[in-house]
C-alpha cells in the first residue's frame, strides 16, 4: 500500500525566511508525485507534478524537487500570502489507475 509522510506538521516562518517542507513516500512504481496548496475552507489547489528522480519544478517562490524516496517543497523568501496547508500526494502502480494517496499536510504560517 502506498504511503506518504509529511514533515513538519506545522511550520512558522518570518516573512523572508526560506525553508523546506518534506514529503517521504513509499510506492510500488511511482506514476506521479503531486503538491497541492489548501487554504482554509477550500479544496486543494494543484501546484506541481513530478514524475522521476532528479526532476525539479518552480512556480514563483516555490520549488519542488524529487528523489527516489522523498520530495521537498522549497519556499524562498515567503510572504504572508504563502500561508496555507501544503499537501503531498502520490500515484503508484498498485490500486486503481487514478487512485491518489495523500499525506496529512504541512500547515505553514508566514508572519509579517
Amino acid at each position: 500500500e502506498d504511503q506518504v509522510t509529511q514533515s513538519p506538521e506545522a511550520l512558522r516562518l518570518q516573512e523572508g525566511e526560506s525553508s523546506s517542507l518534506n514529503c517521504s513516500y513509499t510506492v510500488s512504481g511511482l506514476r506521479g508525485l503531486f503538491w497541492y496548496r489548501q487554504d482554509p475552507g477550500k479544496g486543494p489547489e494543484f501546484l506541481f507534478t513530478l514524475y522521476s528522480a532528479g526532476e525539479e519544478k518552480e512556480k514563483e517562490r516555490l520549488k519542488a524537487t524529487l528523489t527516489k524516496k522523498e520530495s521537498f517543497l522549497h519556499i524562498t523568501a515567503p510572504k504572508p500570502e504563502d500561508s496555507a496547508t501544503y499537501l503531498c500526494a502520490v500515484r503508484g502502480h498498485s490500486g486503481g489507475y487514478q487512485k491518489v494517496t495523500f499525506g496529512i499536510g504541512t500547515k505553514l504560517q508566514v508572519i509579517p
Binding site: 506518504v4 506514476r31 506521479g32 503531486f34 497541492y36 475552507g41 477550500k42 479544496g43 486543494p44 489547489e45 494543484f46 507534478t49 514524475y51 499537501l87 500526494a89 500515484r91 490500486g95 486503481g96 489507475y97 487514478q98 487512485k99 491518489v100 494517496t101 495523500f102 499525506g103 496529512i104 499536510g105
Partner: protein, 115 residues
Amino acid sequence: EAGVTQFPSHSVIEKGQTVTLRCDPISGHDNLYWYRRVMGKEIKFLLHFVKESKQDESGMPNNRFLAERTGGTYSTLKVQPAELEDSGVYFCASSPRLAGDNEQFFGPGTRLTVL
C-alpha cells in the same frame, strides 16, 4: 471557466438519517473522484468515475455509501443511514479524459457533521 462545485457546503444531520451530497465537475471532464477527510487525518480516496462508469470504488467505506453519476455529468454521494464516524469533509475532484497522470481539480468540499 467554472470550477468544480459542491452542494451543500455544510450539512448537519442526526445519526440514522440520510444525506445526499452533490458534485458538478468542470464541464467536459470525464473523470470524477470523491475523497473524504476525517478530522486530523489525511484526505482519503473513495472512488473514481469515468463518465457514468465506476472505475475504482476501492475506497468506499461500506455499503452505506452509494455514489452515482447518471449521464456522466454531475455526481451524487448518498450516505444512508449516517453514522457518527461519517463526519468529515467530502471533496469532489475532476480531470479531463486524457489527463493521464496529470492533476485533479478539486471542489471546495462539503462538511458533513453527524450528531
